[in-house]
């Protein structure tokens, strides 16, 4: 599904990704763990197409399409979704208005008809109910004044609504209380399907207790330095990243 080969990325002359290779298959849930500043958010931004990042080498293919040649909105229409580590506030734009515009823009890009307003409202309400989000939140401007945890829930609501095929969750667990963590995880698990893949960026095992990954990658210094099964996360939880730091020093 997603294939990244030898990705080298810099920002303002600072090298952040150093020949990163990563493959995620259809139906797979891959976790990425790694110390602060190792380049996890950078990787997610580069996949989604944020400007400012200079791609010096390598390629990113989604179902064989070259993502690097596409605009961010085209990548979104192709199925890429990024749940932001720090979701943005969009003042003045009602949440419902935003969701409807986003959904219909993607449908249009895929050559589908616009969704009728009643159908749209039904879908949003259903998704909001699953995530136990109060309806009046949907009446406010998008993310404006939302608490940290509310913003994260809103990201998952958007994911549920847009039904993307490749979902990146960047530290979605941070800022969530215990109940919210469970609710959000259930929301993600409900979306797991053989046609959909997930890249879950996290620092903590507790999220992976709920969203059990098929593979765990360790990122360090802008590269994937180790790949294993779900037990790798437990090992990291116990030992930290000391081993990788030493190997770098050596």
């Amino acid at each position: 599904m997603l294939e990244i080969k030898n990705l080298v990325v810099q920002i303002e002359d600072k090298r952040i990704l150093n020949g990163l290779d990563l493959t995620v298959n259809k139906g797979e849930v891959a976790a990425i763990m790694g110390p602060n500043g190792s380049g996890k958010s950078t990787l997610s931004y580069v996949i989604a197409g944020k400007e400012d990042y200079e791609v010096l080498d390598g390629e990113i293919l989604l179902d064989g399409q070259n993502l690097l040649e596409m605009e961010p909105d085209q990548r979104a229409a192709a199925g890429v979704f990024l749940a932001f580590q720090y979701p943005l506030e969009i003042p003045g734009v009602g949440t419902m208005t935003f969701l409807k515009a986003a959904l219909n823009a993607q449908r249009k890009a895929r050559g589908q008809d616009e969704l009728s307003t009643p159908d749209f409202i039904k879908q949003v309400n259903a998704a909001a109910a699953k995530l136990e989000m109060p309806k009046d939140m949907l009446k406010r401007a998008l993310n404006v004044g939302f608490s940290g945890g509310e913003k994260k829930r809103m990201e998952i609501l958007q994911m549920a609504l847009l039904q993307p095929s490749f979902c990146i969750l960047d530290e979605t667990d941070s800022g969530l209380d215990i109940d919210a963590l469970r609710i959000v995880s259930e929301g993600v698990n409900a979306l797991r399907s053989p046609d959909r893949a997930f890249l879950v960026i996290t620092h903590y095992q507790r999220l992976l207790n709920h969203i059990v990954p098929d593979t765990v990658h360790v990122m360090h210094g802008g590269r994937i330095v180790r790949t294993g099964g779900k037990e790798l996360a437990l090992e990291l939880e116990a030992n930290g990243y000391a081993d990788y730091r030493e190997s770098e020093a050596a």
């Binding site: 909105d73 943005l88 003042p91 003045g92 734009v93 986003a102 823009a105 890009a109 401007a141």
Partner: protein, 490 residues
Amino acid sequence: MPAVQETIDQVRSIDVDQYKYGFETEVEMEKAPKGLSEDVIRFISAKKGEPEWMLQWRLDAYKRWLTMKEPNWARVSYDKIDYNDIYYYAAPKNNPAPKSLDEVDPEILKTYEKLGIPLREQEILAGVEPQNRVAVDAVFDSVSVATTFKEELKKAGVIFMPISEAIREYPDLVRQYLGTVVPVTDNFFATLNSAVFTDGSFVYVPPGVRCPMELSTYFRINEKNTGQFERTLIIADKGSYVSYLEGCTAPKRDENQLHAAVVELIALDDAEIKYSTVQNWYPGDAHGKGGIYNFVTKRGDCRGKNSVITWTQVETGSAITWKYPSCILRGDNSRGEFYSIAVSNGMQQVDSGTKMIHLGKNTTSRIISKGIAAGKSENTYRGLVSAHRKATGARNFTNCDSLLIGNQCGAHTVPYIESKNSTAVFEHEATTSKISEDQMFYCQQRGLSEEEATALIVNGFVKDVLQQLPMEFAVEAQKLISISLEGSVG
């Protein structure tokens, strides 16, 4: 390439010519000789068949004007205007004014058709629900060419006609009110207008009458090197209500053209006037060549107790806008409101705002201003809120928000507050925001193109003001705003 850079490049490359009203109409015109002199004023007055007092009024204004200096305090810059290089009167031949639409030059009818302005009552009736009817006065260069629904309005007692006609038919009414809100001596452009004004609308709503439909005037400058000096006078007598809308466009021309209008509103006891403007004069090209100089004096007088005047404006056009629709809150408990959206792109310069002059007791005012600057434009809000010694309990709330698109444009807020009364409460809020690259990326990540994302954010930014427009025009205004900003992002 960072988004901002791309925005700039995109703006540089716009051929502003999203302006959809830039066509010209071929029609035979009659003009006064170029330039300004007593003779030209006499010519205009004679053409209009005015009584002697009106001519004297004009001549006095002209003498006064000769002693005045053009103001230069606004944050706008332009080459000196040669007032002798302008035609002050241009009218389609076939005067005196046509009695019915059938006598109007078909080219002119076609012009308004192209502009989407309905002039044929039957057609209006056929298409629209009765309660949404709009009566239109169409002003082409210096004369009114058609006024619709006149008869029906007359039945309700409402007078709605070109001001030149009102001067002949209702001289006492005109004389009683003309120049009582914007005195002849008010300012350079208002004085010029008083000397040379050619046409505009006159509205009188009698006591207790709620005007049965929206009234609107549609101004079109067509002739080259011609100034448009319209004069509008609206009187809402005791306990009456009227909602009035003006729209305006002009052909694309390389030379700048002057538009110096005066609008006076008078609301007596318990009366309410809603005045809305959708201003879309030709803004000039991407390099600042051509476009209308819109130097306008608009003022409303809440003369009676409990009266209300609301100004709503959507300003997208003109090379330069200099305009401060104001309210004099004379009557006790009167209320003034100002809602404004000013969009500037390319090389446009906007210096606009309002004045709320609190004179009566317990008077209230509310100012909501939304400035959107893109391209290399400059967008200034300038406002004055003042309370007189006797204006006990005066209250004002002001909110000025600016939104910047790209980083070659400027937004400025210049609020003046003068309070001579300790019980007055004035609140002022102002924000300046920029559509950040991060917000743009977030929207795009959800599937919206940059254009769609900008439109969404801009619509959110202006919606409080759009809600104030009569429904029929809110949609138009929204479209206009997005057209004006087309090409402002990459």
